[in-house]
Amino acid sequence: MTDTPILRIVGLSVALPTGADRHHAVHGLTLDLHPNRTLCVVGESGSGKSLTALAVMGLLPQPEVRAVAGAIQFEGQDLLALPERAMRRIRGRRIGMVFQSPMTGLNPVMRIGDQIAEQFRFNGRDLGVDPRRRAIELLASVGLPDPTKLLDTYPFRLSGGQRQRVMIAMALALEPAVLIADEPTTALDVTTQAQILKLLRELQERYRLAVMFITHDFGVVSEIADEIAVMRHGELVEHGAAGRVLGQPAHPYTKQLLAAVPSLEPPRRAPVVAPIVLQTQALAKTYRSRDRMFGRRREVIALRNVDLAIRRGEVLGLVGESGSGKTTLGRVIVRLLQADSGSITIDGAEVSQLPRRQYRPYRKRVQMIFQDPFSSLNPRRTVGQIVAEGLLAHGMPAPQAHARARELLRIVKLSEQAAERYPHEFSGGQRQRIGIARALALEPDILVADEPVSALDVSVQAEVLELFEEIRVRLRPAMLFITHDLRVAAQICDRVAIMRRGEIVEEGPTSAIFAAPRHAYTQELLAAVPGAAQLALGQAARPVSATVLEHEPK
């Protein structure tokens, strides 16, 4: 039954400032929101989904970005035409909004209670309600422990998940009819994400809310969507019931997106038989910081007695949530950090205690690929210089180094002319490729990849994962692949190690771990992966074609 929609977006167009890469952020968009139904608007970055949400709330960053056409009909009014004073009465009272970044979404210098109560004082005086009591109810309704004490605490004391719950409570304070959630769980760990999605589901049913949920993660879509709208370059390419769109996608772009989502079913892989290249025993590391303002000592235990081993040509996945110590482990192995105790052996030789000078030859054999494409390349140097840096550092004469650099760029499917251009002229995916080229320059035996694809859109992610697959097959390095995304781990790793609070709680071949997780935490992790239950999303990584890498390894 399709009851009457509560909010109708009709032919919305949002113009971008001159000089932007295209004319319109959103072009001719028509969508409806129905009470007690969740519409998922899904699309890659730059698809205009967030701006659509902001347009509804009337929060477009004036004057650069303006709604130039269409209407947003809500409760008999066109929101686009409303003056600011009238729009202010809609915001919060009739339409609530939750944003992506919980850590920075709350005012750091104001108590939680005040931030919720101020809405009643300034935007809902006529509701005749005691703000403090109402706030306690709201905090309880979003599942936060001991709400009364919470009223007087400051945001910095809460975790990401807790803060997101507070944001949701704030959005629902004045009992709006519509809730807009712009990627509310993207910044959260997968277990916390699962709880928030469940909470949103319950709240939507309890208050018969019309929810517009914006995300780029199809797993999340499959968990929560009643209806799906797929957007690309500001236009609606597909719209329909959740089951239909996920099961039988009509538009080729939707198909391509779904295909790009790595499946949770790990492909069958023969165990790698090769000598162990990298081994660590009882690695431990504790961060000690002296707070300058008060001189208090604070200690955070990052690694607790970590043993792992990677064979030549094998990809070991290191999976864990934020704060599990997986990044610290990666940095200790490439010797960006010094472990407190324990040993690291490369081809049987203990290296962690070697002084700088003796360790230098091993530098060439261990390389790292970084996570953030925008901060892993020096903005002031050309791509050619970046890739050749390692070769030059190890004494290769410049012309030869630059020639090798151009070759490497070709290997990672970038044009040779890229060598003369600067990083800011490339997209996220291309920058990651440059990072990979840089890491491969010294033909390392060990490659540590720290969340190499987490910052990329799913389609770009797929291409880069494909590149990793080729590297694995052609150059057969021992690779430590750090990620929080179980789907990615499933598709690329031979073996997987699950880390929690500095310890490896479980380790084994990927297919075995995914099929029958032994440790409770692993089970919880796997269950929390969005879209795991509903449908076998996506498919195994495509086999590697031999032709891609003509160049034989050394």
């Binding site: 530098r363 970084f370 970046i386």
Partner: protein, 279 residues
């Protein structure tokens, strides 16, 4: 580089600033051609009022032409300002880089010293230094440099601390690039823009400092400086207001121009701010 210049000039304030600075530099260069006899020559009656043919800005207590003095005053201001800033920036960058990159005991020491300089009233300290080492152009430049390097050191240290943990620096470490090369190739180029902006503001501040020092009578007696002229005009402010007024205007114009250029550079060098067209 051209893009930066283009953005700089789009910032109308900066364009005005660059214009004024150019004028001041040109005046300083051709002063001895414009007025070969120098500022100390007694060319007219004493205390002649401004805005008349012979002496457009009037004359002072010894019949010296105010306009000539202002033109010659540009030399002292520019010389003191630029030399002291170059010295202060060089020292500041070196100290900041070392303490920012290596941290530890050295960093603590550097922080203590810069805090010490921050607490001392720097103008008073400069005045004492100059009085001690006998006021002359050399001691003025030295004194201003001594009090102006700490802010640069703090800025560079901060930038180094931030950039040092950026992934592209860690990548260089992993690649086995030498520390010196990392400092000079990876980090320093990215510190240039904030330092350039600070440098322009430091030149402005140095001019104010020099003017204050000369005003108190600690300037170089043989060099005509704006601060000296303002101080000289003070005792006869009632009947010869122009003696203090015009050199003051010269100081304000030059310092204002430098500040505008500083703002312009700031927006030109980190474009994301420019987007909001901050004046």
């Amino acid at each position: 580089m051209m893009a930066i210049m283009h953005r700089l000039f789009r910032h109308k304030g900066a364009a005005f600033g660059v214009g004024v600075i150019a004028l001041v530099v040109i005046l300083a260069a051709i002063a001895s051609i414009l007025y070969p006899d120098g500022p100390w020559e007694m060319v007219g009656g004493i205390f002649e009022p401004p805005f008349q043919r012979a002496h457009p800005l009037g004359t002072d207590g010894l019949g010296r032409d105010v306009l000539t003095s202002i033109v010659y005053g540009t030399r002292v201001s520019l010389l003191v300002a630029f030399v002291s800033t170059v010295v202060a920036v060089t020292v500041g960058v070196l100290v900041g880089a070392v303490s920012g990159y290596f941290g530890g005991r050295l960093d603590d020491l550097v922080m203590r010293v810069t805090e010490l300089f921050q607490t001392i009233p720097s103008f008073v300290f400069a005045v004492v230094l100059i009085a001690i080492f006998t006021p002359n152009i050399g001691s003025i430049v030295a004194a201003i440099s001594v009090v102006s390097w700490p802010p640069v050191a703090r800025l560079v240290r901060g930038e180094f601390l931030a950039i040092r943990h950026r992934e592209y620096v860690e990548a260089a470490v992993v690649l086995g690039v030498s520390t010196l090369r990392i400092i000079f190739v990876e980090i320093l180029p990215n510190v240039v823009s904030p330092v350039v902006v600070l440098a322009s503001l430091m030149v402005a501040n140095a001019i104010l400092l020099e003017a204050g020092i000369s005003f108190l009578g600690l300037g170089d007696q043989n060099l005509m400086s704006w601060g000296y002229m303002i101080g000289e005009g003070r005792s006869t402010i009632r009947d010869a207001w122009w003696l203090s007024f015009f050199p003051g205007v010269a100081v304000v114009a030059t310092v204002l121009a430098l500040n505008l250029v500083g703002d312009g550079l700031n927006d030109a060098l980190n474009p994301r701010l420019a987007r909001r067209g901050r004046a």
